[in-house]
Assembly symmetry: C2
Homo-oligomer: 683 residues x 2
């Protein structure tokens, strides 16, 4: 292009024979004469125009320049800081309000009363009775010893209670994250070969997860949570639930050998082999009967809300009953698998287990990013939906910071990645929690368990843990939502199914990659091919609508109105837009040759949808203008976005198109074109 330009610049006569020179000259004369004419004569000629056209103060071109991206970023930052310390008169006050922002406990703690405390104690105990067996099961899923589940149910809830702003969320290990951690970390170090090495990886991953979460929050990258679409999450969760369920077959059937892979085919193969080698029906019958017990209590709890505590304590009850049963019958001697030793005592420090050198740091950081995003997605979804029921808003960025600190401190005290659990949050809510104190009560209960009751867990059968996890899975599989996604949006359903099938037959990462790719591809596709539609007038009004959508609208003779349906006219769609509009013009000319109708003289381009433009877009508009000019068609632009007008001014495109050919709305542009046309015909 630049070569051509330099050619035509150096040799002014170079492009002369290319343009229909006679015509373009007359057109240029017409163009320069029209604005003056317009400002003086035409308003007097057509009184209608002067009524409808607004005062020149309101012209698109008279607006101030839009704030530059840097200024806008700075002002949004400032706004955030200022709202926090809005009424700060002194430095002390400012510091206090800053501390209150970081530790919400300082604000709600002052109004906390005995009545709320009573509710929180009830909720906390209910939570603990559900959380203790669940966390032992999830530790098993994460391929860690049982006490690590309890550790993770102790420190992170305490940190969240002082830093978090959600009142209902129940913090601890959850199923999907446990699966994520084990399926990705065991690719680096096999836990059955080198348990300490595996733990090192897990805690390092937890540390990185915390670091990423906190920095997402500090850098206000809250939108990262939105990168996974709702549909993708539905598919991913469904697939993960089935994968987790399949992993429980090991415990439920009492298999000794099992696969490290998580995909359907490998697991079914492993189960098939296991059933042919050695399995103990006792495990299966015990697990199944308690699974049925838990499901029945849940059914009863749903039928009668007063019995809400029944499904909540059923897992604990199952653990106690089955442990007593095994202790009495000594069934572990006949092949029933039991937990055996659970180390007692408070969380040991794991600072020395963190690895920041060596070959696995990069890999750990990568797993950390994935865990950070998935954990935040789950926690924010849980937190938001319960906050919206209670009628308050959660600040996503603040939540990220507290989740981050909770996992960083967790990684130093032998905890793996914790987040908000959906099922336990619901129990906490129904049990009537009033504040994060319920999390503290639960943590105290877990602490007491760790100190005094671990020896009682010796005889707890592994099959019971499997059945507790299995009973929590149906809530993750949301067939009804998948159906409604299919009904509303087929492409969303594709993302949903992609994630589901990817997790089920590939691995967790493959499922995530598929979901992300489909979701992003969709956004790009919608940018690549914007809708370019011709508009027509609804008779008797000043409303202009798409001819294709409303076939009854009437087109104006001698002018064409085209609407550009993208918010960002950029390199990906500028060329397409230009060519589509020029094709419309040429198709129309062909049609007119056949019908002997009037030629198009004005092309009104409705750019009210275009909020931003890049240099390719500017070039496309410029080319369109000169091309239309060479056809003898005047281009009018309607209501481009603020940034668009600003950049068109910078590129001197406004001058080339002509200030009087840029309008505030379609009606005004059509009016002006029609009146010019009449003037021309009269003259």
């Amino acid at each position: 292009m630049n070569y051509l330009e330099s050619l035509s610049k150096d040799h002014p006569n170079f492009t002369k024979d290319i343009e229909p020179s006679g015509f373009s000259q007359t057109l240029q004369e017409a163009m320069t004469s029209i604005p003056n004419e317009h400002s003086s004569n035409s308003i007097e000629q057509s009184s209608e125009l002067s009524v409808i056209r607004p005062e020149p103060v309101f012209s698109v071109l008279n607006t101030p320049d839009p704030p530059s991206p840097w200024i806008e970023l700075a002002s949004s930052m400032k706004e955030k800081v200022l709202t926090r310390g809005k009424q700060s008169s002194s430095l002390l006050h400012f510091t206090l309000s800053g501390l209150q922002g970081l530790f919400p406990v300082l604000s709600w703690g002052r109004n906390y009363d005995l009545k709320s405390f009573r509710s929180d104690i009830m909720a906390g105990l209910t939570l603990a009775s559900l959380g203790i067996p669940q966390s032992i099961g999830y530790a098993n899923l994460a391929k860690l010893e049982p006490q690590y589940g309890l550790y993770t149910n102790l420190v992170p809830p305490l940190i969240y209670a002082v830093m978090g702003s959600s009142k209902e969320i129940a913090i601890g290990p959850v199923a999907v994250i446990s699966l994520l951690v084990s399926s990705m970390c065991q690719k680096i170090v096999d836990p059955s070969v080198d348990p300490t090495g595996y733990k090192k990886i897990v805690f390092t991953v937890t540390f990185f997860t915390g670091i990423f979460q906190a920095s997402f929050g500090f850098l206000r990258l809250g939108f990262l949570v939105d990168f996974l679409s709702h549909a993708a999450i539905v598919g991913f969760m469904g697939g993960a639930a089935i994968v987790i369920g399949l992993q429980q077959l090991k415990g439920l059937l009492g298999l000794t050998h099992f696969t490290n892979k998580t995909d359907l085919v490998s697991v079914i193969k492993a189960v098939w082999l296991g059933l042919h080698q050695s399995w103990h029906p006792d495990n299966f019958f015990l697990g199944c009967s308690f699974l049925i017990f838990i499901l029945v209590t849940r059914f009863l709890g749903r039928r009668n809300l007063k019995l809400f505590w029944l499904p909540a304590i059923a897992p604990l009850l199952s653990v106690i009953l089955s442990t007593v049963l095994v202790f009495l019958t000594r069934a572990d001697k006949h092949g029933l698998k039991i937990i055996k030793e659970v180390k007692s005592g408070l969380n040991p420090s794991s600072v020395k287990l963190l690895q920041f050198t060596g070959p696995y740091v990069g890999e750990s950081a990568k797993i950390g990013v994935i865990c950070a995003v998935i954990a935040l997605t789950e926690a924010v979804a849980v937190g938001r939906s319960f906050a919206s029921v209670r009628g308050y808003q959660l600040d996503g960025n603040k939540e990220m910071v507290s989740m981050g600190f909770m996992n960083i401190i967790g990684s130093l005290s032998s905890c793996y990645v914790a987040t908000g659990s959906f099922s336990r949050t619901a129990v906490n809510f129904i049990a009537g929690c009033k504040s994060p104190v319920s999390n503290i009560i639960m943590a105290i209960t877990v602490f007491l368990t760790l100190e005094f009751l671990t020896r009682l867990l010796y005889y707890t059968p592994l099959a019971i843990l499997a059945s507790i996890i299995l009973s929590a899975l149906p809530g993750l599989i949301d067939v009804r939502e998948a159906c409604s996604i299919w009904k509303v949006d087929k492409m969303d359903f594709l993302a949903c199914m992609g994630a589901f099938i990817g997790v089920l037959f590939g691995s967790v990462e493959i499922g995530l990659m598929v979901a992300l790719t489909i979701s992003f591809a969709r956004i790009l596709l919608s940018s690549i091919r914007p809708r370019i539609e011709t508009l027509g007038r609804i008779q008797g009004t000043d409303i202009f609508c798409s001819k294709r959508q409303h076939p009854v609208v009437s087109l104006e003779p001698g002018l064409m109105i085209v609407h550009i349906g993208t918010s960002f006219l950029c390199f990906m769609n500028a060329n397409f837009t230009k060519e589509r509009i020029l094709t419309y013009v040429m198709e129309d000319e062909e049609l007119q040759e056949e019908n002997n109708e009037g030629k198009i003289l004005y092309m009104v381009i409705d750019m009210s949808n275009v909020m931003n433009i890049d240099s390719s877009g500017i070039a496309a508009v410029e080319e369109m203008h000169s091309k239309l000019e060479s056809f003898g068609i005047q281009m009018a632009i309607v209501n481009p976005g603020w940034q668009v007008i600003y950049k068109m001014k910078l590129a001197r495109l406004v001058e080339r198109i002509g200030v009087s050919w840029i309008f505030l709305n379609v009606g005004e542009a059509v009016e002006a074109c029609l009146s010019y046309k009449e003037d021309n015909i009269c003259a």
Copy 2:
């Protein structure tokens, strides 16, 4: 969410105490009563309303369903086929017009006359005199023997002449593609160690390039060319030109040892080492003097267009002069590097060199994709800009098919990747070519050279080839365009600089990756944070504008108008949009408490920019509606896109919002809200 839903479904009294039940009931009553009232009373009450509201035929909701994506895809395919065979009455005619589509030579060949032929002979000979030395130089850059450059300047132009639709484009090897091929292929096989293995890779890459190009064309993936933004191409080309120039230092300085890497640091290090070991000033002086000669002729050619042939034949002249000089002085015995043997004769077959098994197939295909996209980007840019000067349109997809076939057949006859060259196309154009016949003339000249003149190239110094390539580079570095990009769009400039620095200090692939990443990130960023702005009325009109852009507009009391500035309300921005709108409402309530003004009763959401929506978007609109309802605010939706209305109907969202709360334009919605408000106040 589903858990909550099931809870509230199973226990109808579950959410009772959460909502301000008394209020929502009255609101619901009000909502069900309003529509009826509206259709009977309100029109009579306010005569203004009945004038402005269009006939119910024109309601947004009465339109037919939009065509499904599959139907739209099918109809666009059908359209393409039908336009090609529009007037086909018989099968024969249909086949003929299909053949004409594939081989445009069949259409223009019939009207071809002697006068055009004379022009084409002149243009073809000029082209050959520039192309022959250039292609030998580019073969050198691609680390192939000189004859391969000539081969590539023979077969692909012939194929393009019968299949291509551009009249001006000059086909052959080009600088950037030669650099791409050598820099990527030598990572697989080192050409100095295993020349045959390297050739195998190069031809396989060429074959894949052709396959990808042809399939892009057949699958109508023409938009792939738009994936590289204009800004990114400017930066990439500039960086590539400097890298190519640095590579020429080897020939210009007559160095024996040189680096295989292309980045600035490695090359400067290699040159430094070379200068300290062994270099021959003869090479440098010879190369520089002829470089100056070529540049002076170009300057003269630009000053006087009649001398256009001078820069075109200067390279050939340099080759002849320098060759004669070396032959006479036998300077090659004193360290001057010469080409030595150039194999004579027509292209040999290279079918047996193609490798579709073995370890390098995947790698070759990857390089093929990159070459295909870059080659097409360059060719389409060249073709389009000259076609637009001549006033005809190029069909990008058709061009891709012909480029693909040209490279497939090229790869079978010892050619590497060919594409349209910018500098030679310009020469072809200025020399007055009328049709692709000039490419045929050039190919014949190259054929004669290969058959009879290769022996004369024995003494051609390598430094001359370097200076010919160096002289072609300034056209690739477009500082003026980079400046204008900086002026108009800072983010575009970032992409430009990213590509430039990536190519210069990293590698060609890194530069491309950086450019692609920045460009895509920008599109995603513009989707993540749409502009949500409050609108106000321009006094005395029915035009509503952004309050921020036009501070003079007046807001209507008791209602808020918000505009959503994205064309795709999807998972990435739905949550943000919802929360931003709710924040506006809450900020406004705070403001009103201070000022004791009237509360907002109506929220008009202008969705005229929203052309598409996904399930997350639907959910966000739904949540927004119920949230606003709980605040006692009625939501009205204005002019959502066709797809949006369709999906809102499918999700039963239209019923929930209320059919009478969806309007065609903002004016109408405001009118309706104001009249309801008056009615309520009167009642």
